[in-house]
């Protein structure tokens, strides 16, 4: 099963898609500008953008007769989930250590 998190990882696992994200860090762009300087065709860029949208890393919105792509600000929520789990694991390990020490003191 592909989870939401897996799809983000897959999306980030491709060099072209990382290059697209790097470009979008500077602000929203139409596909023609995103494709500039990338060693892939425009249809290929569109395909990458589709993957990035499905992974909730990029959102598109219409502006006039074209579409602008930008980073999805909700991408932050998965970051929080990651750190939530990270610190959860760490604090459980800490608690285990304290319990171990307390048991040793009682023994």
């Amino acid at each position: 099963m592909t989870t939401y998190r897996d799809s983000q990882l897959d999306a980030l696992g491709d060099r072209t898609r990382r290059a697209i994200l790097a470009k979008l860090r500077r602000g929203p762009l139409p596909v023609v500008d995103i494709a500039k300087g990338l060693p892939v065709s425009r249809p290929a860029v569109s395909q990458h953008l589709k993957v990035l949208q499905e992974a909730k890393l990029v959102v598109a919105r219409p502006e006039g007769n074209r579409r602008l792509y930008e980073l999805d600000p909700n991408g932050f929520s998965s970051l929080r989930e990651y750190f939530d789990e990270y610190w959860g694991v760490a604090l459980i390990a800490f608690k285990r250590r304290i319990e171990q020490l307390a048991s040793e003191d009682e023994a």
Binding site: A22, G27, L57, L79, R80, W87, L91
Partner: protein, 163 residues
């Protein structure tokens, strides 16, 4: 483009209550950091050998790796034993050290006695937005390294490492 206020990324908050005084809990958390820190949590290229938190304001948080290298990943911003300390979380998307505190998030750990001989440990990891330029900055056209997509890269690297 949607503006993201600096405070828009909510902090991560976790708590745990342990069977120890604040003094002891603080000591285990810091001086004995290596005795409990998960071995998967490090940024080195070889396995983690020892994890160290220097017990002073300005102290380093770093790890010694089995290949002999040292990896800094944070520094102590506030040192108030046995009640709290704050560290800067200085990790870039490429698992490198981020020397710029303005581009680092921070982690506060508080130790509060519960009155029954135990201690509640509250952890807050906040200011994630500092790792990225933030949408507001991006809109202003400032091309800053360390955008939030970089942090997703950190996320990806961590999961790849541990999976």
């Amino acid at each position: 483009m949607t503006a993201i206020a600096d405070n828009e990324v909510a902090p991560v908050q976790k708590s745990v209550t342990v069977r120890a005084t604040p003094e002891r809990a603080f000591q285990v958390f810091t001086r004995e950091f290596d005795s409990w820190w998960p071995r998967s949590h490090h940024i080195g290229k070889s396995p983690l050998k020892r994890a160290i938190v220097e017990e002073k304001a300005g102290g380093r948080c770093y790890s010694e790796q089995e290949d002999g290298t040292e990896c800094d990943w944070g520094s102590i911003l506030v040192w108030e034993p046995p009640r709290r300390f704050v560290l800067a979380w200085q990790i870039t998307h490429e698992w490198g050290y981020q020397p710029d505190l303005a581009k680092s998030s921070e982690v506060e750990i508080r130790f509060t006695p519960t009155g029954d001989g135990r201690t509640r440990v509250d952890l807050e990891h906040r200011h994630f937005e500092r790792h990225g330029a933030g949408a507001a900055t991006m809109r202003a056209g400032v091309a800053a390294p360390g955008g939030w997509s970089d942090l997703l890269g950190l996320f990806a690297a961590q999961v790849e490492k541990t999976s």
